[in-house]
């Protein structure tokens, strides 16, 4: 009589399985981190906000309204606050993606498949641009091409050549595309070179045997086989570019060249958040459409590995083109990495901007004491309590986020891999991909919407360091989940079961068996989270408050105030921290694996 029903038994037993418990827990966390904020954002676009009282006397905070949608899509402002920025977003992102694909694809081919000199060196430097904050190049660009339009000192270009760069070269579409292409090409480089490495030359050679010309082989065999990698690179680049805030803001704002991302920011600053949220929704929609198209076009093929055993790689002799090819690649890397960093360094050493004489060189902006006459009396960055505080925040944030995200990645990997193909595992695997769909600035907007109010017993988290951790963890989850899943795949289930047989409980098994075995494989997840948090601006710009400032937001602030020396010095500081952090992590962890 008091026997439990079989159903309850089943459920009880299921709930004893750690991957089920963990899976459920993670799905709940994911819901809290991604789904709920998203719903809140949608909700907020359709109700009156407190701040709307300024805009409409009929505003009734909390009541439903279509006001924001009308304002964005069908008002006299629409062109300026929506349609034009949308156009700019699409135009820049598309051009950037295509240019980056071209650069990265070419570099990959040259490095993997030709006899270009110094291939190894090129390969080492090829990925550095991606490690730098995305707007490093933008700031360097300004240092070089700045003209009178934006005020302050004109750039080095004017000084060196005596010509003032026209607006179209100094600001807007052209520089945004160039700088971001140089920043994003490593995506394509890594994906395509990976695919090229695992592409068996036999496939090409069999074409050759059939008498096809080299170009024909490239076009009919190599290229189609590379297509999945290229398309993945395109998606990756596009979805990043469309959500990036820093570069379009620094290079676009002076000529009022706004993109959706920068419009979202200004709308928040103007306290018309609902307008920003609608922009964010549109960005998410664009990302989703792109990813959907991707799956439609290449479908299953996207992750097929072409690798076989004992593959051979054929090297195409470049002949007379060897050195020109090398020079081109060296120039590319020089432009993407060394020139900008040197420009920034130079800028930080100039006491007065615009004065390029030797006598004007100074270390004031690095180590100088406060001087009332300079930069509102702020002291050099290595002496400046605020900047050091921000640096500490940045380091703290990046390390904590890397640890939490990496750990969650492993846990997700565990729940997904051990859950085999159960519904829960599938939901978790796909759910962890969701943040990828949401562009950074939109993600920040969502968190602002949700966490500036109290939710149930939770106080409003806006302004807390914890919120920054949350948002960075959530945004970095797709990557760490991916590396967690793949490293968990390498760990046979029986290794854990052997632990069960030995009587180890889940925690013991996790700590003593699973963690040690997955850590090395998940390292890239940790490092990636560290790097991207360290240089993150788009994601947190809306959530930062004075106490929680990071180096990136300090840079942003100094750029806005026109203190390029400080801004540039901080960027260099970030670069040092990122490179140092990565180096340290690799030393601790071992093998190299990027993205």
């Amino acid at each position: 009589m008091n026997e439990k029903s079989p159903f309850v038994n089943r459920l009880g037993l299921k709930l004893k399985q750690p991957q089920v418990v963990l899976g459920l827990l993670l799905v709940v966390i994911l819901t809290g981190l991604v789904v709920v904020p998203f719903l809140q954002l949608v909700h907020d676009t359709a109700v009156w906000q407190e701040a709307d009282r300024r805009m409409s006397r009929t505003a009734e905070p909390g009541a439903w309204t279509l006001f924001h949608y009308l304002r964005v899509f069908a008002s006299p402002l629409s062109v300026n606050i929506f349609y034009r920025p949308l156009l700019h977003s699409l135009a820049t992102s598309l051009t950037i993606s295509l240019t980056a694909m071209l650069l990265g694809g070419l570099m990959a081919w040259l490095v993997v498949r030709t006899d270009m000199p110094f291939k190894k060196t090129i390969a080492v430097f090829a990925v550095i641009p991606y490690v730098l904050p995305s707007y490093t190049l933008a700031l360097a660009w300004l240092d070089f091409f700045k003209n009178e339009r934006i005020g302050g000192a004109v750039g080095i270009c004017t000084y060196l050549f005596g010509v003032t760069p026209p607006d179209w070269l100094a600001y807007g579409f052209i520089p945004i595309v160039i700088t971001l292409s140089l920043h994003y090409y490593p995506f394509t480089y890594l994906l395509v070179s990976g695919a090229l490495i695992s592409l068996d030359s036999n496939l090409e050679e069999s074409g050759e045997v059939l008498g096809a010309s080299r170009f024909r082989i490239l076009r009919r065999i190599t290229f189609p086989l590379m297509l999945p990698a290229l398309i993945s690179a395109f998606i990756l680049t596009f979805s990043r570019a469309v959500g990036t805030f820093g570069t379009p803001y620094f290079l676009g704002a002076p000529v009022r060249y706004f993109t959706l991302a920068t419009t979202i920011y200004t709308s928040i600053v103007n306290r018309t958040p609902a307008v920003a949220y609608i922009g964010a929704l549109v960005l998410i929609l664009i990302s989703m459409v792109i990813i959907y198209l991707n799956q439609k076009v290449i479908g299953e093929k996207s992750f097929v590995t072409i690798a076989g055993k004992g593959l051979r790689r054929r090297v195409t002799p470049l002949g007379a083109w060897r050195w020109p090819a090398f020079s081109l690649m060296a120039a590319l890397i020089g432009l993407a990495v060394f020139v900008p960093l040197l420009l920034l360094l130079w800028q930080t050493l100039m006491l007065y901007p615009n004065d390029y004489s030797l006598g004007n060189l100074t270390l004031h902006y690095w180590i100088g004491k406060s001087q009332a006459a300079l930069a509102e009396g702020e002291s050099g960055i290595l002496r400046n309590a605020q900047i050091l505080g921000a640096a500490w925040n940045s380091i703290r944030l990046s390390v904590i986020v890397a640890l939490i995200t990496g750990m969650m990645g492993i846990l997700i990997g565990y729940a997904v891999v051990r859950g085999r193909k159960t519904n829960l595992a599938v939901v978790l695997e796909q759910g962890s991909f969701l943040p990828y769909l949401i562009p950074s600035i939109a993600f920040g907007a969502i968190y602002l919407a949700l966490f500036s109010k109290s939710i149930g017993p939770l106080p409003p988290l806006y302004g807390t360091f914890f919120l920054l951790i949350l948002v960075c963890v959530a945004k970095n989850l797709p990557f760490s989940a991916r590396s967690g899943i793949s490293s968990m795949m390498q760990v046979a289930g029986e290794l854990e079961e052997a632990g069960m047989m030995a009587g180890a409980n889940w925690l013991q098994r996790f700590r003593r068996i699973i963690l040690p075995l997955t850590l090395a494989g998940s390292l890239s997840g940790f490092i990636l989270a560290f790097i991207s948090t360290m240089r993150e601006l788009s994601l947190i710009i809306l959530l930062i408050t004075p106490e929680t400032r990071t180096l990136t937001t300090m840079t942003f602030r100094y750029v806005e105030q026109g203190y390029s020396q400080f801004a540039d010095a901080i960027i260099l500081l970030i670069v040092i921290l990122v490179v140092g952090g990565e180096f340290l992590a690799r030393r601790l962890g071992g093998k190299r694996e990027t993205i």
Binding site: K4, A498, M501, A502
Partner: protein, 367 residues
């Protein structure tokens, strides 16, 4: 009371029923082998006994204690069942040394260090692993890894040993060596052992009892000799023995008041089957139960030598008769040539019969 009692055990994976209402008892100290073709559910049964898989229905008792019961919603976790398991892949932890691998279970059970040290050393010595304590599994040969896996199981002193095809990853020579080792282990530890294999020789040489499984169901669980001699059905008959048993479909008929088996290629007197006249049956003869003679004679049947396959101490001769191939085992070497006409002599008592429709053995009351 049996050491392991399994009742109505069922496990489904999605649409596949991996184990179907399996009922089995393993006596204390017994060495029981689960035998069957790959995919028949052996591993699943073993894993359910170990507690690594949750059954859908049924009950399992180990040492009189219920460790799983679907109706009572009872599930005892693997570590608390007092069983040890050797995985097919050994599942040694690659980040731990041999010593750490073996000591892990004791650490978890919080055995005091001195005692642990002693136990681990003993187990390693027992498995002839002295001097390898600080190696990592990757630095060892397959046989050595196997020994570590066994040592790891032994050290916790389980009452029941579970082994899942432990020898399948070893080469032939090592396999024989380890077979002896396992037999010694069983004898000395006196632990109830459930051993999974798809290798019948292994099963027949090691076990005190063999349980043959087919598509998730238990077909027969009897001592090896009986499995071989009196297979419960056609499946077992066909599965056990190498080369495979000779099967001849036919019918039981009455001729001149005597009962005969009438097959396509063979006709035999079968007085014991008088009750089955008119039934469709399959006659089965082990290869070693056929004798070959050159030239024709008495009630022997003739055939043509189709192939001669020498295998050292014995030779398998394939004889074709009326389009059917008969396997015949001949001790030592033979001078038969292909194409030669030979005579096959059947010993009627050694022929077993199976029902034509269900394939169950027809009990002739012999033996």
């Amino acid at each position: 009371m049996a050491m392991i009692e399994i009742e109505g055990l069922t496990k489904r994976f999605g649409g596949v029923t991996a184990v179907d209402r399996l009922t089995l008892a393993v006596e204390a100290g017994e060495f029981l082998t689960l035998l069957g073709p790959s995919g028949c559910g052996k591993t699943t049964v073993l894993r359910m006994i170990a507690g690594l898989e949750v059954p859908d229905a049924g009950e399992i008792r180990i040492g009189g204690k219920t460790v799983f019961s679907a109706t009572r919603g009872l599930f005892v976790s693997p570590g608390k069942r007092g069983v040890g398991l050797v995985f097919q892949s050994y599942a040694l932890w690659p980040h731990m040394t041999v010593r750490q691998n073996v000591a892990f279970g004791l650490e978890i059970r919080k055995v005091e260090p001195a005692r642990m040290q002693k136990d681990v050393s003993e187990a390693l010595a027992y498995m002839h692993l002295e001097g390898m304590e600080n190696r990592y599994p990757q630095q060892m040969s397959g046989g050595q890894q196997q020994r570590v896996a066994l040592a790891r199981m032994l050290v916790a002193g389980p009452e029941v040993f579970l082994m899942d095809e432990p020898l399948s990853n070893l080469d032939a020579k090592l396999r024989i060596e380890m077979r002896v080792e396992i037999k010694r282990l069983h004898r000395e530890a006196k632990a109830t052992t459930v051993y999974v294999t798809h290798d019948q020789t292994e099963a027949l040489t090691l076990s005190s009892r063999v349980a043959v499984m087919e598509e998730g169901r238990l077909v027969q669980a009897t001592p090896p000799r009986e499995i071989y001699r009196r297979p419960a059905n056609l499946f077992v008959a066909d599965f056990i023995g190498s080369p495979t048993i000779n099967l001849i479909p036919g019918k039981i008929v009455q001729k001149n008041g005597r009962t005969f088996f009438e097959g396509e290629a063979l006709s035999l007197p079968t007085p014991a089957l008088a009750a089955h006249v008119g039934a469709e049956v399959t006659a089965a003869v082990r290869p070693e139960e056929i004798r070959i003679e050159t030239g024709e004679s008495g009630d022997a049947v003739s055939g043509e030598v189709y192939a001669v396959l020498p295998a050292g101490s014995e030779t398998i001769v394939q004889v074709r008769r009326k389009g059917r191939i008969f396997n015949v085992r001949v001790m030592g070497e033979t001078s038969l040539n292909i194409g030669e006409i030979v005579c096959m002599q059947f010993i009627p008592e050694a022929v077993i019969f199976f029902q034509g429709d269900q394939g169950n053995r027809i009990d002739t009351g012999q033996e």
